[in-house]
Point group: C2
């Protein structure tokens, strides 16, 4: 059974297409839009179209940026440490590091990881663009590449692949530490993580 309004039903259908939004939630969102002032719906509609029109990738780090702000704010910033590049899988991962406020270097967004099962090879992600930032024999200024990929099989494979490519360039290639997360109880930490934590132990 559907609402006696095609326009409302269409909006419910469109909302329900979004990930994690079921029909019941879609219905609630559509009713909200129906009752809110028209300007609210217009602003959301404009933001939707804008994001498809205006968002591009930074030609240097491949992170998302707006048309007219290329290179992106981080690549263009003079406050960042230009000797370190942190390699991440997606823009949200970069955002996670930025939230810590701790890391001050540059980023490189791969937009994926190598995954033969899904048919994703090195040429399908932004590996070439990463290598272009560290030209052989030239003074690029980059001293270290930090691999910060997700601790999955695909992430580890990609890290291994990148390490092999980057090490011959004479720069330090590091990987973020695997270990017990802050606040975790050892009793409940899984075996793989505990093993990595033991392997990666540091001098106090």
């Amino acid at each position: 059974m559907r609402f006696p309004s095609v326009a409302l039903d269409t909006l419910i259908d469109e909302f329900a297409k979004l990930p994690g939004i079921g029909r019941k939630t879609a219905q609630r969102l559509a009713m909200y839009i129906l009752h809110e002032p028209k300007i609210e719906a217009e602003q959301l509609a404009k933001a939707l179209l804008d994001v498809k029109e205006k968002v591009v990738r930074c030609t240097i780090c491949q992170n998302i940026t707006d048309v007219g702000t290329d290179p992106c704010a981080i690549c263009a910033s003079k406050a960042r440490d230009r000797t370190v590049i942190c390699v991440v899988e997606s823009p949200v991962d970069m955002l996670a590091f930025e939230k810590t406020g701790h890391y001050k270097g540059l980023y490189h967004v791969l937009h994926g990881v190598i995954s033969p099962l899904d048919g994703v090879g090195p040429d399908d992600i932004k590996v070439r663009e990463l290598l272009a930032r560290i030209p052989v024999g030239e003074a690029s200024g980059v001293r270290e590449v930090v691999l910060a990929l997700n601790p999955t099989i695909e992430g580890e494979t990609t890290s291994l692949y990148l390490a092999r490519l980057l090490k011959p360039l004479g720069i330090a290639v590091t990987k973020i530490a695997r270990g017990i997360p802050v606040g975790a109880e050892l009793e409940y930490v899984d075996e793989a993580t505990l093993s990595r934590a033991m392997e990666g132990r540091t001098v106090v």
Copy 2:
């Protein structure tokens, strides 16, 4: 910390305004829109604008309907029993009854209930429009009004108010049954519901 794209941040903000959508979900939705084909974003944007342009209220039952379909499909239908009007608080309640496929009469949507604490009086909801459907002394054809409001204090107050207005018109005024829901276990049903179920007992 925010994304290095104003357009994306704006979309996240707009999504986060929706009820039940937090910043993390808004971020996920915005990233989804960013990666989907442009047509998806355009369809959602169009549906948003359409719903504000095209959805109106049926002049008879006050339910939502599209411009050009007034009276609404139910009010205009010849298959419905025109002697019964079911009074509900909102369009979603009407939809709930339609989903049962059991009720074949007409509806009247109040768009609210009387709630003095919130400053909502009888004139703020569609009471006048309901009375207009049952003109005094004329043969309106309506024999029964079923009050199907939510079992809250405001709903009960509104039911009482409507019953007093409608009974003098010489029509049957009924209220949907309060009792134990199908599938419930008596052990866990609250006292108020059990009392109502006992009061409303019927002959087997």
